[in-house]
Structures are given as C-alpha cells and as structure tokens.
C-alpha cells in the first residue's frame, strides 16, 4: 500500500514532537507535592518529587556509585534509603511548636520517559508522625500544625500542598485544598502560573462538626482609607441586581452611606462647626448637607475617570493626599474669612450693644449661600475610597448602571446623616439661644465656630480631621 507522502510527513512530525516533548515544568524543574492527612493515628505525609530530565541526570550520576554508566538494584536501593532519610530532614512538621519525627512507611521510585525518551524520575514516599494524643487534654482541644518543605529551595517547579482531616478530625484555617494533582496532571499550568506553595499552617481538632475550609478569596483593590472588610465594597462583588434583591441592596447601600457619614472625613464636624455659629436656618443645614454629598459623589466620578483613563500619567493613590490638602486649604481659607467677619461682627455688636440694637447679625449672614457652597464643595471633594472601588468594580463587571445606582443610594444615606447633624445643630442652637446664665457666652459662638472650621481645614490639609 502506497502511503500518502504528506500524511506520512505529518505523522512523522507528530511522533517526533511527542518523542521530544519537554517536561511541562521545564527541563530544570523539580516538582513537589505534599498531601497531609491528619488522623488520630498521627499525621501522614505523602511526599512526591518529580524530577525533570536534567535533575534526573544529576541524581542518576549520584546513584551510579561505581561510575559504570548503569544503575544496579543495589545502587538504587542504597540511593533510596539515603534519599528518603535526607528528604525527611528538610520536611518540617511541627505540632504546637514541637517538631515531629517523620518515619517512612513506604516509597517507590520510577523513571518515566521524558524528552526524547530520556528518563525523568518520580519519587513517591509516605511518611508518618507518631500518634497525636487527642484525649485527656485540657480545653481547648485544638492543635496547631505547621508544615514546610525546604527541599530544593529556589529550584523552579510546581510546588503544591494538600491537607485534610479524617476519622473525626476537623481542620480549621487551612487554605490548601483537601486533594491535589499528585504531580500527574500539569495542565492547569497552561493557563496559570504553577502553584508555589511549600508551607502551610492550620489548627485541627477532634470534632463531629468540622468547620469548613477557608479559601483565600481575592480581595478588592487597596486604596488609602479603605478597609478590606468594607461592607459597601462587598455589595458590588457579591450581589448582582435581580428583582426584589435590588430594592434591598439599595436600602442596605443607603444605610451603609448613612453609617459611613459618621466615619472620619465626611464633613459632619464641618457642618456642625459652621452651622453652630452662623445662626443658620434649617434651609442652610439642608443645603450644606446636600452640597457636601453632591461634591462627594462628583469627586468619586472624577477620580474614577482619572483612574480609568489617566492612570498611566497620574496614579490615583498619589492624587488622594493632594485632594485632601486642597480640600483642607479651601476649608481653612473659608474658615479664616468667616472668622474675620464674625470677629468684626462681634466687636461691632459689643460697641453697639449699649445702643440696644436687638438683632445684629454676623457679617457672613450676608453671604451664607456662597460660604455654604464653598464649604460644602471643599469638605466633600475628598472622594470616598469605598465608593470609588464600587464604581471601578462596576466598570470591571460591565455593570456601570448598577454601580451608579449603588453610589447614588449610598450618597442619599450620606446626605441624610449630614442633614440630620445640621438640623440637630440648628434646632439646638435655636433652643438654647440666649438661654440661662451662659447666655452672654453665646455671643462668642460665631467666631469660635469659625475658628473650629479653620482648625478642621488645617487638620485635613495636614492629613487628619474628620
């Protein structure tokens, strides 16, 4: 039968490619796998090493003690005995601070064919620690286990760990999976960087109810001032809008905004400090609260845009301190202007008080709108990192609308708190105006509150304040 020449060439190509296919982890690699099984009889460690072609060649040179180019059974046995022992010297299994001896239970040595039929080497050893006494111990009945594989440090390769408890032993705080590849399947490395896990620690206990294994979930991006446990940020990552859920998510978002306004840096002190001395009205309180919230939201939008479009030129994290300084300086300036006007107003009031002008207003009363807007914008321009993360997550998830909705609900909550603070101050101010033996002292309130605004501005500019 005549073979098709192209097909023959293709077949040859395929077979030669199969024959010379390099170790998937590279010819230099030594690949590690440890599987820990915690059981009442002790801790069993299945330890597998897969040597690629070059390290196999090196190991075989060491095995061939008479240098005759072949490895006899005696040479292999002697090598194995020594290897099993030296490898265990660099496996550290520690329970409650005490290193446990590892006794080999079994071992196998194979030489699977690698590139061009050259040998690779697979060593599979099972070690066992002495039994851990799980009874007769005072509470809490929990043991801390630490494990580290220090063999072949710095050598490239796949480095994997697995751990599980059996026979009523539960693990707590383990971040490694219960089972692993046993170095039989490297296909995951086609799409991911190979694992590099050589140590782990967890506690284990004898318990019917085994706590779930904790997985290492990816964290949101880190921005200054953002707590990793920020509830608002999690809303974006964990929930997608759907029906009634959406309503509750928005309510939660608004509630978080209301609560968030009480954390430092959200202008509530500013609102109070301004209104307390301005003889402000309910209308002023409302306007100041809303302005702070509006500029806050705009600040988020602008920073979001900078992050998305100009992050090659300006890093958002470097922008934060500058925005804070700018905002602080704005507040400081307005505070000083207010102080000058109110101090002048106080002096003029003192001079004219014996002429019984009953209702002298502070001078800033002439421009309340200007001052409220100025203060509101300056106070609110420092963007909230949580809201920014939500915005960026929304872009990443292709859920821009949902992200905007969340931020809007969050802002409503924020506004509600600030307005409530403002209204309370105005209400209390009206209630106690000229009241009791301290009545005359209320005369000093306008300049004192203006000074407070200036101090707050200064603190924000220097990196503090709230």
């Amino acid at each position: 039968m005549k073979q098709h020449p192209i097909l023959a060439a293709l077949l040859m190509l395929v077979f030669s490619a199969m024959g010379v296919f390099a170790h998937p982890m590279g010819n230099f690699s030594i690949n590690h796998f440890s599987a820990l099984t915690v059981e009442p009889q002790g801790i069993q460690v299945r330890y597998i090493l897969d040597f690629a072609e070059i390290p196999t060649f090196q190991e075989r040179q060491g095995m061939d003690q008479n240098q005759d180019g072949t490895i006899s059974t005696t040479e292999q046995t002697r090598y194995l005995e020594e290897k099993v022992s030296t490898l265990s010297n660099r496996l550290f299994l520690i329970i409650d601070g005490k290193r446990q001896p590892l006794t080999p239970l079994s071992h196998t040595l194979e030489f699977p064919k690698g590139a061009g039929g050259l040998p690779t080497m697979r060593l599979d050893i099972v070690y066992q620690t002495p039994p851990v006494s799980l009874h007769g111990r005072a509470e809490p009945q929990s043991w801390m286990l630490e494990y580290e594989d220090k063999n072949y440090p710095h050598r490239v390769g796949w480095k994997e760990l697995a751990a599980k408890g059996v026979s009523g032993i539960g693990l707590e705080g383990s971040i490694v999976p219960e089972t692993g590849s046993a170095l039989l399947d490297y296909s995951e490395a086609e799409n991911n960087t190979p694992p590099q896990i050589l140590k782990t620690s967890f506690s284990f206990h004898r318990s019917a109810g085994i706590p779930p294994t904790i997985s290492a979930a990816p964290r949101p991006m880190a921005l200054p001032g953002l707590s990793q446990e920020d509830a608002f940020t999690r809303l974006m990552g964990e929930h997608r809008p759907s029906g009634l859920n959406l309503f509750w998510i928005l309510i939660v978002s608004a509630a978080l905004g209301a609560g968030h306004a009480l954390s430092p840096g959200h202008g509530k002190t500013l609102v109070a400090a301004y209104l307390v001395g301005s003889q402000g009205t309910f209308r002023h309180a409302l306007l100041l609260g809303i302005t702070v919230t509006f500029s806050h939201t705009i600040g988020v939008f602008l920073l979001g845009l900078i992050t998305l479009y100009l992050s090659d030129l300006i890093l958002p994290e470097t922008l934060y301190p500058w925005l804070s300084r700018l905002s602080g300086l704005g507040i400081l300036t307005i505070g000083l202007i207010l102080f000058r006007q109110r101090w002048a107003g106080l002096k003029s009031h003192t001079k004219t008080s014996h002429h019984h002008h009953p209702k002298t207003k502070p001078h800033d009363a002439a421009h309340p709108l200007k001052h409220i807007l100025g203060l509101g914008i300056s106070g609110g321009i420092i963007p909230c990192p949580s809201a920014l993360v939500v915005l960026l997550s929304a872009v990443a998830f292709h859920q821009v609308g949902f992200g905007m909705l969340l931020i809007t609900a969050f802002s409503f909550g924020l506004a509600a708190t600030l307005v409530a603070v403002g209204l309370s101050v105005v209400y209390l101010g009206n209630r106690f105006k000229g009241f009791g033996p301290f009545g005359p002292l209320f005369r000093f309130l306008p300049p004192v509150s203006a000074a407070s605004v200036s101090i707050l501005g200064g603190l924000i500019a220097l990196g503090g304040g709230g």
């Binding site: 010379v20 390099a22 170790h23 998937p24 982890m25 590279g26 010819n27 230099f28 690699s29 072609e53 070059i54 390290p55 060649f57 090196q58 040179q61 240098q67 590139a115 061009g116 050259l118 072949y152 440090p153 710095h154 050598r155 490239v156 490395a189 086609e190 799409n191 960087t193 306007l287 509006f294 939201t297 705009i298 939008f301 602008l302 979001g304 845009l305 998305l308 479009y309 100009l310 992050s311 090659d312 030129l313 709108l369 807007l373 915005l391 929304a394 872009v395 292709h398 821009v400 609308g401 992200g403 905007m404």
Partner: protein
C-alpha cells in the same frame, strides 16, 4: 436678591448634572471599549496595562531560565484581543519573548512594529535596543537605549545604558549608571535590582576590583536570597582566593537552584584545578547532556556550548560549526570572541584574528577578549601584539580566569625582553 440666589444654586446643580451625565457616558463607553489609544501621552508607559500577568510570567522565565514560562506567556498573548493599545503591547511582549528565545531578528522586527504603533512606549525601545545589541548593531542599540532613557529614566533604561557604556569601554560611566539603576529600584516586571547588582559586580570584576565585586554579589544575595547568579560569582571570587571549599559550596548552591551549563563548567574547572578529575568529568557530562536535551527539543546549539568544547578541546570541529552557525544569528562581540576561539583551536589563526578584531572593535574591557587576542597573535608569530594583549588582560583583572590567567602570566614571562620596550 432671592431670585439671584436661586439662579446661582440652579447653575451649580446644572454643573453637577452635566458632570454626572458625562461621567456615566464615559463609564458606559469604557465598559465597551471603543477608544483607540494608539498615540498620545496616555501610552507613555513601560508596562502594558492590560497584560501585566504576561509580563510577570516572562520575567519569571528570565529569572529562572525556564523556557516553559515563555511558552505559557506566548500562549496567553494569543488569547488577548489585539484591539486598541493591546496590539502594540502584544507585539512588544512577543518581541521580548523572541529575545529570550534567541530569535534576535524576529525580536527586532516585532519591537520595531510595536514602536511604530506606540512611539512613546519606553518598553519597546528597550527590546529594540537589546535585539540590536545581540545583532551587533551597536549604533542602533545606543539610539534606542537613549530614546528609552529620554522617555522614562528607570531601572530598565539605566541598566541598558550602563551595559552599552561598558561595552564601549566606558567602565566609569557604566558604574555610574548601574548605580543609578540600582537606586531607581525595580518598579516594572522587566527590571530587577538583584540582577543590576550582579551586573555592577561584574564590571568591578572585569576591572580587577574584586573586593567591590564581592560586596555587590553579597548585596544581590540580600536583595534576592538564593540568587544563583550571585552565588556562582561569589564562588568564582573564592576560587581565585584559593578558598576552594567555599567556592565549591557556592557553585553547588547555584547549581542546586539552576543547573546552568556555565555553572557546571565552572565547577568542573574547579575540580580540575583540585585534581578531582572524575568529579570534573561528571559536571562536564551534565553540560553535554543539557546540550543533547536542547538538540532533542529542536533548539539550535548556542555559543556557550561551542565555547565549552573549544575550551576543553572536545569536539573542536563541532565547536567551530556551532560558532559559525551562531554568528549567522548573532553578531555581537561575544559571539565573535567564541568564533575566534573556535578558529584558534582548529588552527585557523588568520580567521581567528579577523574574528577577534571584530570582538575587540568597541574596546570592551573584558580580560577574556584580550587573552584570546594574545593567544591568536602568539600563534601568528606576533609576540609584540601578543604581549600587549596579555598585559591588558592581566592589568584589567589578574585573576580573570583560573586557567587562562596563569597561561597569560606564563606567556608574559616567556617574553621578558618585551616588558620594558613593548607597548603597554
């Protein structure tokens, strides 16, 4: 008055509404990218924003010498849609991978394409400079490195400029720039402070300032614990100080991390010096095994193997064949040096002289080059030139090589009459 106030509040609220609407629009557009970002300042970066994982993978490949990282990185690149700015970045990264795979012409071609797409991306000039350097196009390499430095004076740019200065004989300038590279710190995945510290140590080593070189290798080990490059060089220093035990230990540590042929060969040389021939032979067998493995995988033999054969008087015809094949791909001074040495060992002294002159054309202060030039001149019956070259090699670093430095000293002693009158 009241109407005026109301008006100003309305104006401000309208402003907010406008900014909000614009933001929403831009964000919606961003989530479905339609903005071309081929040119302009937004592309003025060294790290492609969309594919940092690929860069990190290539960097790991560079650090470990493990080719599987490059294969993986190349595969990842195929899955990235080449739209917008990504097209330039993909080309740049493919060029970078080609560089590590010793496909220099391909690297130059791809980097040039990337540069055309993104003329303000410093990274592309870096790859272009590296590729031109390997192809022996030093002027182009200099120009590209200069542009990279102008665009972004960071570790990646300083280190290229420093290497070029050293190659052109300006060791002082090289020391200055390597210092700047180290001070700049590793901000991008294509740079590494430990790498730079070892390189600066090498400049001092080539100048015979062994104590400074030693300190820098120690610093590199501090920066990157277990650095095989630093360990191998520390071993070399201990060997010239006759502290053979420490030298052996450091070589073994380096080999345990990466059994690179150059480390195996150096340890073999050390064993030869100590008269431990069987152990030396074991190391050399590993060098040959690595070469065999490369050949099985279809990789062309490289100049290191040719140099190994030539140095150890093995497979001399093969050494020359490899060196001649390598010079077709790579025309830098070090490849010419290997070619010269392969010609010399094959008794083709005239061709060796032509090749070594090409290797010395930049005035690079590498003792090895002058030693080879001296041996070739000796073979051609030109003791005056030979004397000059041996003297230069030894004046640069009297300990440049365990075996070769001794030969150079012997050669000088054989021609004492040239010591006074000969050119220095």
């Amino acid at each position: 008055m009241k109407t005026q106030r109301l008006q100003s509040v309305q104006n401000i609220l309208s402003g907010y509404a406008f900014v909000s609407a614009a933001t929403i629009l831009l964000l919606l557009l961003r989530s479905n990218p339609v903005f071309p970002q081929e040119n302009g300042r937004t592309n003025r970066i060294t790290k492609p924003p969309d594919i940092p994982a690929v860069m990190a993978e290539i960097r790991r490949g560079q650090e470990t010498g493990d080719a599987s990282y490059f294969v993986r990185a190349e595969k990842w690149l195929e899955n990235i849609p080449p739209n917008g700015a990504a097209q330039g970045h993909i080309l740049g990264l493919r060029a970078w991978i080609a560089l590590f795979q010793h496909e220099f012409e391909k690297a130059e071609h791809l980097a040039e394409q990337a540069r055309r797409l993104q003329p303000l991306v410093a990274f592309h000039y870096g790859v272009l400079s590296d590729a031109a350097l390997e192809l022996g196009k030093y002027e182009q390499s200099l120009q590209a490195a200069q542009k990279m430095l102008n665009l972004q004076a960071d570790q990646a740019a300083y280190s290229r400029a420093a290497h070029l200065r050293e190659l052109h004989g300006d060791s002082t300038g090289a020391i200055e720039l390597w210092g700047k590279a180290i001070a700049a710190g590793a901000r991008t995945p294509e740079s590494s402070t430990a790498w730079c510290q070892v390189e600066l140590g090498d400049v001092y080593w080539n100048l015979g300032q062994i104590s400074k070189a030693h300190d820098l290798y120690l610093s590199a080990l501090k920066t990157q614990p277990g650095s095989h490059r630093a360990l191998a060089r520390l071993a070399r220093i201990h060997a010239v100080k006759n502290d053979f035990e420490t030298a052996e230990h450091h070589y073994q540590q380096a080999i345990a991390a990466r059994p690179l042929p150059e480390y195996l060969e150096a340890l073999g040389d050390l064993y030869l010096t100590l008269g431990r021939e069987q152990e030396a032979e074991n190391q050399f067998a590993q060098v040959i095994f690595s070469a065999r493995l490369d050949a099985l995988e279809g990789k062309p033999p490289n100049r290191e193997l040719a140099f190994f054969y030539a140095r150890h008087n093995r497979n001399l015809m093969e050494a020359l064949r490899i060196a001649e094949a390598e010079i077709d791909r790579r025309k830098d001074i070090m490849t010419y040096d290997v070619l010269a040495w392969a010609y010399y060992k094959n008794g083709r002294y005239s061709e060796a002289e032509t090749a070594i002159n090409r290797a010395l054309r930049l005035g690079t202060p590498y003792p090895r080059l002058y030693f080879h030039a001296g041996m070739i001149a000796t073979a051609l019956g030109n003791p005056v030139v030979a004397h000059k070259h041996f003297k230069t090699a030894l004046s640069l670093n009297p300990h440049f090589d365990l075996k070769a430095a001794k030969v150079a000293k012997t050669q000088l002693l054989q021609h004492p009459h040239l010591k006074k009158g000969g050119p220095s």
